[in-house]
């Protein structure tokens, strides 16, 4: 990006030189030592051409350019008669020294640009002898030029450094992500295998196996719900920026041996408040399963994204509940289901429908608008 500034200089330098040659040609007759003027312009021309061919820009190169510029300005004193100089004639190199100022600014930043402008200014004053208004004006403009372009170059360099850093971090994250996937996959495979062999061997190995199975489920939920490399950029960004969460991730933490969480493939984005209430209701329902459905009972938590609504269905294959017992439980003051689930859903402006028959388990369907109620 700084290269753009160098390229600008490559264009400026020859133009400034041509103007200096033209100015010298016009007042050739008035000069005290025209041959010296042409010699100096010849040296500057050679330097200008060599700068187009020689591409390295370091302190030496810009240093020589500054010396040439200041030298050419001061030699004007020998080229012109004192009367002409005091009369306010142009210096021999004209705009050309500005190239040296800009070169310092681009190479070393705004302080160097200002310093280079200062040196050129000193040379100007020395050449004229008495600083006139126009000389001061030129020096001020030169200093401004050095500072501004130097500042530009600094900004560009900082921006470039920040961008490189960001790209490096991104590449690192990708690589870590890739490694994590491999490691997770290996761990999941091994845990599944321990579970499988444990079941085959029976006895104590069976217990070890079921421990491995629990860990495997937990890890699988964690891994499969992490939006590490989103294929569709939008929703995840929204999820990070706004108070929006992926319900799959929120409910995923309930997955364990007896609880299967069944999510869709795409994120289900919800207002965080709604998601937390919904999760609390699901938690209460699962507690109920654990307490009443029997030790062998399994539970399934199905998450459905219905567009404007979200439905969560919790089913277990436990002993079930006779009709009317839930209402009776509420009457008896055991408010578990009626209060903590139904109440929460009412607060959200959603519904809770329960369906249970003895021996056929219980099915509870919670539906809520993604935005929740307006309350």
């Amino acid at each position: 990006m700084v290269t753009a500034l160098w390229r600008g200089l490559d264009v400026f330098r020859p133009l400034a030189w041509l103007y200096a040659v033209y100015s010298a040609y016009v007042r050739d007759q008035d000069m005290a030592r025209p041959w010296l003027a042409w010699l100096v312009l010849g040296v500057l021309g050679a330097w200008t051409v060599s700068m187009l061919l020689y591409r390295t820009r370091n302190t030496w190169v810009v240093g020589i350019e500054l010396v040439l510029a200041c030298g050419a300005i001061m030699i004007t004193r020998l080229v012109d008669t004192p009367e002409v100089i005091v009369g306010g004639a142009k210096t021999l190199p004209g705009f050309w020294p500005a190239a040296a100022v800009v070169a310092w600014a681009v190479l070393k930043g705004w302080r160097a640009g200002m310093l280079a402008a200062f040196f050129v200014g000193v040379a100007d004053v020395v050449e004229v002898g008495v600083a006139r208004e126009s000389t001061i004006n030129n020096i001020v403009i030169l200093v401004l030029l050095g500072c501004c372009i130097g500042y530009c170059a600094d900004l560009t360099r900082d921006g470039h450094a920040a961008l490189s850093e960001a790209l490096r971090v991104q590449a690192e994250v990708h690589e870590r992500d890739r490694l994590a996937r491999t490691v997770h996959d290996g761990v999941l495979q091994t845990l599944s295998y321990i579970h499988r062999r444990g079941v085959d061997l029976g006895g104590e190995a069976r217990e070890l196996g079921s421990m491995a199975a629990d860990q495997e489920r937990l890890l699988r939920t964690l891994v499969s719900n992490v939006p590490s490399t989103p294929r569709t950029g939008g929703p995840h960004v929204a999820a990070v920026v706004g108070g929006v969460v992926d319900l799959r991730q929120v409910l995923g933490r309930y997955a364990e041996g007896a609880v299967n969480v069944i999510p869709p493939a795409e994120p289900v984005l919800l207002d965080r408040r709604v998601a937390d209430e919904l999760a609390a209701a699901v938690g209460a329902a699962l507690d109920n399963v654990r307490r009443h459905a029997g030790v062998e009972a399994q539970a399934w938590v199905l998450i459905e994204d219905k567009g404007t609504d979200v439905a969560v269905t919790i089913r277990d294959n436990g002993v079930g509940v006779p009709a009317g017992r839930l209402a009776q439980a509420a009457v008896n003051g055991r408010l578990g289901v009626a209060n903590s689930i139904g109440g929460r859903m009412r607060d959200l402006g959603g519904t809770a429908i329960i369906d249970s028959r003895p021996g056929a388990g219980t099915c509870l369907e919670l539906t809520v608008s993604k935005k929740g109620s307006v309350s």
């Binding site: 996937r181 997770h184 996959d185 290996g186 999941l188 495979q189 091994t190 599944s192 295998y193 579970h195 499988r196 062999r197 079941v199 085959d200 199975a213 495997e216 489920r217 699988r220 891994v223 499969s224 294929r231 299967n260 069944i262 999510p263 869709p264 493939a265 795409e266 399994q298 539970a299 399934w300 199905l302 998450i303 459905e304 994204d305 219905k306 567009g307 269905t313 089913r315 294959n317 056929a360 099915c363």
Partner: protein, 233 residues
């Protein structure tokens, strides 16, 4: 397969020995699955440890079933499935996956995998699933049913007619059945619950998968035509 007492209907009367290719990059798993299948009387004709050899060996041996791990090096699971479907071999693909990268599972099923089983499933579930897959019966876990249901819900949420084509829809009964599968009910339980036979339940499940795969093929063809990929080179 649904984790409940009655998994797939087991079919002990295999008239002919079923041939199987097992593709998995983890040696312990590859060998364990192959051993279980061999012990149960299946003919494991080849094993593969990466995507490309999974495709090559399946096309060379044309087994009844390819038991495919989704996370193979070389080719993604859905690419392996697509290659096998494209070659028009009679092989059916059963996904056996540990990571359950939900989107990967869905992609593989959309391009033609017949079934999906988690590696945490037991030995008997695996054997039943391979038999069912060989008969072309969709092997649905609750997880897969949830994914397919979610995909239809996603399609339904899109504009009804997108670029002049119709978005596939499930019938009310199909949605109902899929939802019951997704909440862990076995086909028999669902049949009893809805007063239909478990074979009808199986048909409904099969139909949902067929619709999804058909929709995917139509999408691919449209994509190919739109990009001018259908014209012979």
């Amino acid at each position: 397969m649904t984790g409940s007492e009655e998994a797939t209907e087991s079919d002990s009367s295999d008239a002919t020995t079923l041939s199987v290719v097992v593709a998995d990059d983890h040696p312990i798993w590859r060998e364990a699955v192959a051993r279980d299948l061999t012990d149960a009387g299946f003919n494991v004709v080849a094993t593969a440890d990466d995507g490309h050899s999974a495709v090559n060996r399946t096309l060379a041996t044309r087994p009844d079933v390819l038991v495919l791990d989704l996370n193979l090096p070389g080719l993604r699971g859905d690419q392996v499935c697509a290659a096998i479907v494209k070659a028009q071999v009679p092989t059916k693909v059963l996904i056996l996956s540990a990571s359950a990268e939900q989107r990967d599972v869905l992609e593989a099923v959309k391009v033609g995998a017949t079934g999906y089983l988690l590696k945490s499933a037991g030995r008997q579930e695996l054997l039943d699933a391979v038999r069912a897959t060989a008969r072309g019966k969709a092997v649905f876990t609750a997880g897969l049913a949830g994914l397919v249901l979610g995909e239809f819900r996603r399609l339904a949420a899109e504009p009804l007619v997108k670029n002049g084509r119709e978005v596939p829809e499930l019938t009310g009964r199909e949605t109902e059945v899929l939802k019951l599968v997704a909440t862990g009910m076995s086909y028999k339980q669902i049949g009893a619950h809805l007063f239909i036979s478990h074979r009808t339940v199986q048909n409904h499940v099969q139909n949902t998968l067929n619709k999804l795969q058909l929709h995917n093929r139509i999408e691919l063809v449209r994509f190919a035509i739109a990009r001018g990929l259908d014209t012979p080179a």
